[in-house]
């Protein structure tokens, strides 16, 4: 990734999530929404995390801000961000400062995360004051530049209330607020959900361009494989709180190894291709309460399940820059290797 760093001299930071487990308190005890997740975001890349409802993707994203709310609790692991350290050890003021300054966050439905009683400009100034920005004029200037960069009239937008802006405009305001303090790590949670097709395409293009111009490390969380395919460099697939597959986006989509990824790709309505080959995955995504406590979390919907899947949870295996957690995928590769040896 070549990034234009002339205006922004800091290099994109790397992010390393290690063995992260987040549990939620339920009547049935503490259940893991995210379990043992290892995920590295390479500096200057866009990583897409795709998963269905209950896959733990939003919980994972909140962990980057150490912002998991009760009844949730980060039970184990670390989130190391270059230049900041382990976010999970930050407390109080340090944590508050890091949010927004180092890690920008564009919330799911940014449309609804703005204050309806204040103009966008007032909210921008609030943000600046809470982060002790001395040059508020400079902040407004930066905000206007960013908005203009995304194809909007900055002065007009800052004078507007959120109801005066369309969904696509509010989404761009959300991106501006996440970037205006010069955060180098940006998390976007469902950035294009509820937007029209053409607006979605525009927002995805803007995310890509701003990412490259400002040398960011970006994480995009979504249920929409298509949106991620369009924008990301690497793709992590989550299921039942685990990252079941991770690798370069073209490889994961073009040659999926985990049966869930394969099934998900087959289930995407597409414009071309044979309709008879497309089908829904059997069963339904697990919830916290229905997650199996041992063995593979996907086995009940899997067409390649084996005896070992009932008892042993598959380990993540890294091969040629790709990670897969599946007994069957593993076995397939081992068999191929053996054949080559003979």
């Amino acid at each position: 990734m070549t990034a234009d760093t002339t205006a922004h001299d800091i290099e994109a930071p790397g992010v390393r999530i290690r063995d992260l487990t987040v549990v939620y308190k339920t009547p049935a005890g503490e259940l893991p929404a995210v379990r043992g997740v290892d995920l590295a975001l390479a500096p200057g890349t866009i990583t897409g995390v795709v998963g269905e409802s209950g896959s733990g993707k939003s919980t994972l994203a909140l962990s980057l801000l150490n912002a998991v709310q009760p009844p949730g609790r980060i039970a184990a692991g670390s989130v190391e961000i270059d230049g900041l350290g382990d976010v999970l050890t930050l407390r109080g003021e340090d944590l508050r400062r890091a949010r927004g300054r180092q890690v920008g966050y564009v919330f799911q439905a940014a449309q609804n995360s703005l204050n309806p009683l204040k103009t966008i400009g007032k909210q921008l100034l609030d943000l600046g004051r809470s982060h002790d920005v001395e040059d508020l004029r400079g902040l407004v200037r930066d905000a206007k530049d960013l908005l203009a960069r995304m194809g909007m009239d900055g002065a007009r937008v800052l004078d507007s209330y959120q109801h005066e802006l369309s969904g696509g405009m509010r989404q761009r305001v959300g991106i501006m607020l996440a970037l205006v303090l010069n955060a180098k790590v940006v998390v976007l949670d469902e950035p294009t959900t509820a937007l029209d097709m053409i607006t979605q395409a525009t927002i995805l293009r803007i995310i890509r361009e701003v990412h490259e111009e400002r040398a960011l490390t970006t994480l995009v969380i979504t249920h929409d494989v298509g949106a991620v395919a369009e924008v990301a460099d690497s793709l992590a697939v989550m299921y039942g709180g685990r990252v079941v597959e991770h690798g370069p986006v073209t490889e994961v989509l073009g040659d999926a190894r985990h049966p869930y990824t394969q099934g998900l790709i087959r289930a995407i309505p597409r414009l071309s291709g044979d309709l008879s080959l497309a089908r829904a995955l059997p069963g339904r995504p697990p919830t916290l309460g229905t997650l199996p406590t041992q063995g593979c979390v996907f086995r009940e919907r899997c067409e390649r399940r084996m005896d070992v899947c009932e008892t042993d949870e598959p380990m993540s295996v890294n091969r040629d820059g790709r990670t897969v957690a599946c007994h069957a995928a593993d076995r397939h590769l081992t068999l191929v290797k053996r054949k080559e040896l003979v």
Binding site: I198, T199, H223, V225, A229, L253, P269, S272
Partner: protein, 343 residues
């Protein structure tokens, strides 16, 4: 059979310096839905697609044009006499989470309309329970499991199936499905689409499918018809597969170009079209409605409004066979949709 001719709808916006402003939501839309047919309306927010669905379901009035159900023009009937006709059209809501009453079990949810149906058709009360189970089985869920449960105990996919089963209690001729899969998990979407297709074939129910995602329209039946709506006007119309493969109107091409490419499996179409600007609210009329955003517009487009037809088109027989029509002065075929990597 339901037909609509010249359907118009105008919303009056209050406020503004000059008082009420009129916003046309539908500008003379013609359509027909045959028994067991599939008609899809595609468009962005503000295109009028949801308004059209509500008019077809009898939930919204219209300002001009005529809806004809089974040969009877609705304008000739009083509000009360219209009701039995509109009962044959049932609406499936977008959000299966808010479409079901949370304080009622699925059994209670299905029982009320089935009792009404039993009275209408002179069936005994005992018919109701059996029919509820039958309908749930028809939409692919286990009645024994679902009937005693409340909506919050079911997944989104199951709830949407219950919503469809409830719509079927009235033995409808047409189901209006407004963004019926947009809130369903990706791995389950095709299941709901396949169910709608199956209901068409098994029960002869027509489907009016309303969505912003063109790709899903392919999956409710290849024999379907597609209408592309822009700001209340049908700008392109024809067989679903034909329009997707060979779009002629620059707006249709923009919509299709905006669908994400699954890199690794597909490569982008060679002539993807990107609108010059984003949509603005309160744009003036006059000329082609898409002219300001269209990369191919000419001076004529600024002043004259094109009508739906085949004028100036590529003039190819296959397109005419498929009944493809468009409202554009400069129609041209462009390859905009992704192509499989292997092809």
């Amino acid at each position: 059979m339901i037909t609509g001719t010249g359907i118009t709808k105008i919303f009056k916006q209050r406020g503004g310096v000059l008082g009420a402003r009129e916003v046309p939501a539908l500008r003379g839309v013609d359509f027909s839905i045959a028994k067991g047919g599939a008609v899809s309306f595609i468009g962005e927010s503000g295109s009028g697609k949801t308004t059209l669905g509500r008019i077809v379901a009898g939930l919204e009035s219209h300002d001009g044009g005529e809806i004809v159900i089974d040969g009877v023009p609705m304008s000739s009937l009083s509000h009360r006499r219209r009701q039995p006709y509109f009962r044959r059209v049932q609406l499936i809501h977008q959000d299966p989470y808010s479409a079901l009453n949370p304080t009622r079990t699925i059994h209670q949810t299905l029982e009320a309309p089935l009792r009404l149906r039993a009275r209408q058709t002179g069936r005994p009360r005992s018919w109701v329970d059996g029919r509820a189970a039958e309908l749930l089985a028809m939409v692919g869920i286990d009645p024994g499991y679902v009937l005693p449960r409340y909506p919050h105990q079911l997944s989104g996919g199951m709830r949407q199936r219950v919503v469809i089963a409830r719509a079927l209690t009235m033995d409808p001729e047409v189901l209006v499905a407004d963004e019926a899969v947009s809130m369903i998990d990706v791995s389950l979407r095709l299941g709901i689409l396949a169910l709608l297709k199956d209901l068409r074939e098994r029960l002869g129910v027509g489907v009016l499918f309303i969505t912003h995602d063109i790709a899903t329209a392919r999956y409710i039946g290849g024999d379907g018809e597609l209408y592309v709506l822009y700001r209340g006007q049908v700008v392109e119309r024809g067989a679903t597969e034909k329009i997707i493969a060979d779009p002629v109107h620059p707006y249709t091409q923009s919509l299709l170009s905006a669908i994400p490419v699954l890199h690794g499996l597909e490569r982008p179409g060679a002539e993807r079209v990107v609108p010059r600007e984003m949509q603005r609210e309160g744009e003036p009329d006059g000329g082609c409605l898409f002219a300001r955003r269209c990369p191919f517009s000419t001076e004529r487009c600024e002043h004259e409004m094109p009508v739906l037809g085949r004028d100036g088109g590529p003039g190819e027989e296959a397109g005419e066979e498929a009944g493809q029509e468009y409202a554009c002065f400069h129609p041209r075929r462009r390859s905009v949709i992704p192509v499989g990597v292997g092809e």
